[in-house]
């Protein structure tokens, strides 16, 4: 028994393959859109993974440090260390800003980390080149997405930092690359104004008779000095000891220290549910429309392919071919088209995903789901076509 579908495909294989490729590109776009959505969620999770924290301690009544601004005194971590179940606690600051390098500037999330040796919470957990920060000042570890290179000198506010290490996938929830710098520098960078503003501020203070008192020499200098210090951090990352549950440690901190504490699950729901909620929904909406449009196009293609062969089908019916054989031929062709489309789509999506400026995460689950959906759509579309084909009058073959 010869394969009717195979023979038919072979008859016009170029048309068949090109239709499949076209379909594949459309499926590729749909898969990529799903990848964009997944990437967005993954960026948010990467932020949490990279911090290496079990608990985030932030200012009371805030959703900090990522979704809202939060500030804590930088010595609060000492009192947290005394809470039972706390293994390590480290200050951290986050500030999204432009980082300058040569003539260009890159939008980056500047993270201030305690340079207390390897494995401290907040430090980049793995590198792809260079080394971790060892000096307490003016060194930086940058994400590769920032385009910075080892040994380069980058400028944050008015200080210059040497890039000593590079990481990968260390991004903010918005997908901006992270630049890790020592905490003290970051604290300064957060509040440090430009030199003009500082000079003007000094002049303003000097004009104030309350601070510039002739009979108290030195007062003005002290006041000015106190204006340019910053003893705040955005959050404290806490790692808990083995054997303690996150909530077990979080509760005493909330109760006794009167600070807000988030566990990993809570933080994830804040990031995914609040911070990226609307943009993720936007993408999800687009994904749904794209999927529906793709399904419609697949269905139409199969329908028109079949309709293009309506005369041949009439001939088949005329020579007494069974309905089942005709239906089988159409369905096999539809499924073949679907398989080619899926393969092309998957390959295309995989190859163009890394070119995207933001992270595109292609999840195998999505691919499998996509494959099943494509097959289902093909089956449904071919049913429509089969119905039309079976209704055709064999007389058309000769009548026309």
């Amino acid at each position: 028994m010869i394969s009717l579908a195979g023979r038919d495909i072979m008859h016009a294989w170029g048309k068949f393959v090109f239709t499949g490729v076209g379909l594949g590109l459309l499926i590729g776009v749909t898969l990529t859109m799903a990848g964009v959505y997944r990437g967005m969620v993954d960026d948010a999770k990467a932020l949490l993974d990279n911090s290496g924290a079990d608990l985030w301690v932030v200012q009371k009544d805030t959703l900090g440090p990522y979704a809202e601004s939060s500030s804590l005194y930088d010595d609060t971590y000492r009192s947290l260390l005394s809470i039972s179940g706390v293994a390590r606690a480290a200050n951290i600051t986050y500030l999204t800003m432009q980082v300058r390098e040569g003539g260009r500037d890159v939008r980056a999330m500047v993270v201030g980390v305690v340079s207390g040796g390897p494995g401290q919470p907040g430090q980049p957990s793995y590198l792809i080149s260079g080394r971790q920060i060892t000096r307490g000042h003016y060194e930086a570890v940058a994400d590769i997405a920032s385009g910075f290179n080892l040994g380069q000198s980058i400028q944050i506010r008015r200080n210059h930092y040497t890039v000593v290490g590079l990481t990968r996938r260390m991004v903010s929830s918005g997908g901006d690359p992270m630049v890790f710098i020592p905490l003290k520098d970051a604290q300064e960078a957060q509040f440090l104004k430009d030199n003009d503003a500082i000079v003007q501020q000094r002049r303003r203070t000097a004009e104030n008779p309350a601070f510039n008192r002739p009979n108290v020499p030195g007062l003005l200098n002290q006041v000015i000095a106190s204006q340019s210090t910053n003893t705040f951090v955005n959050a404290i990352l806490v790692q808990i000891k083995p054997g303690f549950s996150a909530e077990e440690v979080a509760e005493p901190i909330r109760h006794w220290k009167r600070l807000q504490v988030y566990t990993r699950t809570q933080m994830e729901s804040i990031l995914v549910g609040k911070l990226i909620a609307t943009s993720a929904k936007q993408i999800a909406m687009f994904l749904v429309i794209l999927a529906v449009v793709s399904a419609a196009i697949v269905a139409f293609i199969i329908y028109t392919l079949t309709m293009g062969k309506i005369r041949e089908i009439a001939v088949l019916k005329l020579i007494g071919t069974k309905n089942r054989t005709i239906a089988g031929m159409i369905m096999q062709q539809a499924l073949g088209l679907g398989v080619i489309g899926f393969v092309v789509g998957k390959v295309a999506a995989t190859f163009w995903a890394p070119i995207f400026p933001k992270y595109v995460l292609l999840v195998p689950g999505d691919a499998i789901l996509g494959f099943l959906a494509v097959m289902l759509i093909c089956v449904l579309a071919s049913l429509l076509a089969i119905r039309a084909a079976l209704k055709v009058d064999p007389a058309e073959a000769i009548g026309g």
Partner: protein
């Protein structure tokens, strides 16, 4: 011949489909969860590392002389400008004396008057002495005459009384003289005091040095203790350095330091740790130390300039050393991903000293020659499939030390 077109069609079909399938399989295996994680590997080395600590500080003068008046007043003149070299004892400026000079003249006049008073009192005393001598002789003479009964007893008594009066008058004159002398001494002392005050209005530097700041100009009224001119001793320049407490272990006086001025980026000057302050900064969690230059830079850098100081600590004995990029913390445990027979194993380690180039001493957990993961494309798990590469794609050449 008839079958050939069909065969070539099939061939063409295969030519299209087969590469597509191969590509698909490649894609499925090389991306997603089935793909191996690319890692680079380094061997644990046995070497001696030289730890160092790094801090920043500001350039300071050890001795700063704030020269100003001891009483409130108006500045009459300032003779020096910022940057001038001055010598000990040099007059830098002067305060307005107001009426002080006139008071000195008045005091001189008073003094002269007192001197005249002394002379007058001395003359009076001489006069009194003469009178007393005469009265004494007269009294003696009358007493002699009384023995020969040539004068009356009353006359003798009168002479005796005159003698007594003359004696008293002499005593009074002596007292007057003493008073006049004391008055003279007082006016002299007053005059001296005024001169001292006058000298005090002169602003004089106690040391050889450099004028660092000229805070006020002539005509300005300053209060007691406010500085008019600040003189520093440039030879006493030192660096007030702050070291992060976390990495300050081993810091002590006498260690060699490399001082890099912000204005001379990349050019380090040698120095020595002079002392580590007994008080650390409790708020900023920093250890404070003073570092002096072995040789003062010329020209003198400005006071207050930011400097970076690297202090070299004693060389550690040779021990297994790994780069800090390979150290991970998994489930609260510090360790590295060791490669054993091509498989990953998390090896817990205890680390010791670190140096500024990112080398970490391993005290426990690793032996020299063992292979550990240095860089990885993703975070690793024990079940991760790995592929060892020379360098992670996209990353620049590893190992370049900035």
């Amino acid at each position: 011949m008839i079958r050939l077109p069909i065969k070539s069609r099939t061939l063409a079909m295969i030519a299209v489909i087969a590469p597509l399938l191969i590509l698909f399989i490649y894609v499925a295996l090389r991306s997603g969860p089935l793909a191996p994680v690319l890692v680079t590997v380094t061997a644990v080395e046995n070497k001696a590392i030289s730890p160092a600590i790094f801090g920043i500080g500001t350039l300071d003068a050890r001795y700063t002389y704030k020269i100003g008046p001891t009483v409130a007043g108006r500045v009459k003149q300032v003779n020096v400008n910022v940057g001038d070299r001055v010598h000990a004892g040099q007059l830098l400026g002067e305060m307005e004396p107001i009426d002080l000079d006139n008071r000195i003249v008045a005091q001189e006049a008073t003094s002269k008057r007192a001197m005249a008073s002394v002379l007058a009192a001395e003359a009076q005393t001489q006069d009194a002495v003469a009178r007393k001598d005469f009265a004494k002789i007269q009294a003696k003479r009358y007493e002699d005459l009384l023995t020969s009964r040539s004068v009356s007893a009353e006359a003798v008594d009168a002479k005796r009384q005159e003698n007594k009066v003359a004696e008293s008058s002499l005593a009074a004159s002596n007292a007057n003289l003493e008073a006049a002398r004391q008055e003279l001494a007082r006016t002299h002392a007053d005059r001296g005091g005024l001169s001292q005050q006058r000298t005090n209005l002169r602003l004089v530097t106690p040391v050889d040095g450099l004028v660092a700041s000229r805070d006020v100009d002539p005509g300005t009224t300053v209060i007691a203790g406010q500085s008019v001119v600040v003189v520093i001793d440039p030879k006493s320049l030192w660096v007030n350095v702050r070291f992060e407490q976390l990495s300050a272990y081993g810091l002590q006086a006498g260690l060699a330091a490399r001082i890099a001025l912000r204005s001379q980026k990349g050019h380090a000057i040698t120095g020595t740790v002079l002392r580590v302050e007994p008080f650390a900064d409790a708020v900023t969690e920093e250890v404070l130390a003073k570092v002096v230059f072995d040789q003062l830079p010329v020209p003198l850098p400005p006071i207050g300039e930011l400097v970076e100081v690297t202090v070299a600590l004693a060389k550690q004995p040779s021990s297994p050393v790994i780069p800090n990029a390979s150290v991970q913390r998994i489930d609260g445990q510090l360790g590295v991903w060791a490669i054993e027979d091509g498989d990953l194993r998390f090896a817990p380690i205890r680390i010791g000293a670190t140096d500024l180039d990112g080398n970490v001493q391993v005290i426990e957990g690793l032996k020299a020659g063992q292979k550990v993961v240095l860089y990885s494309q993703h975070a690793l798990k024990a079940s991760s499939r790995i592929k060892i590469v020379k360098q992670i794609p996209g990353a620049p050449t590893s190992g370049s030390k900035p």
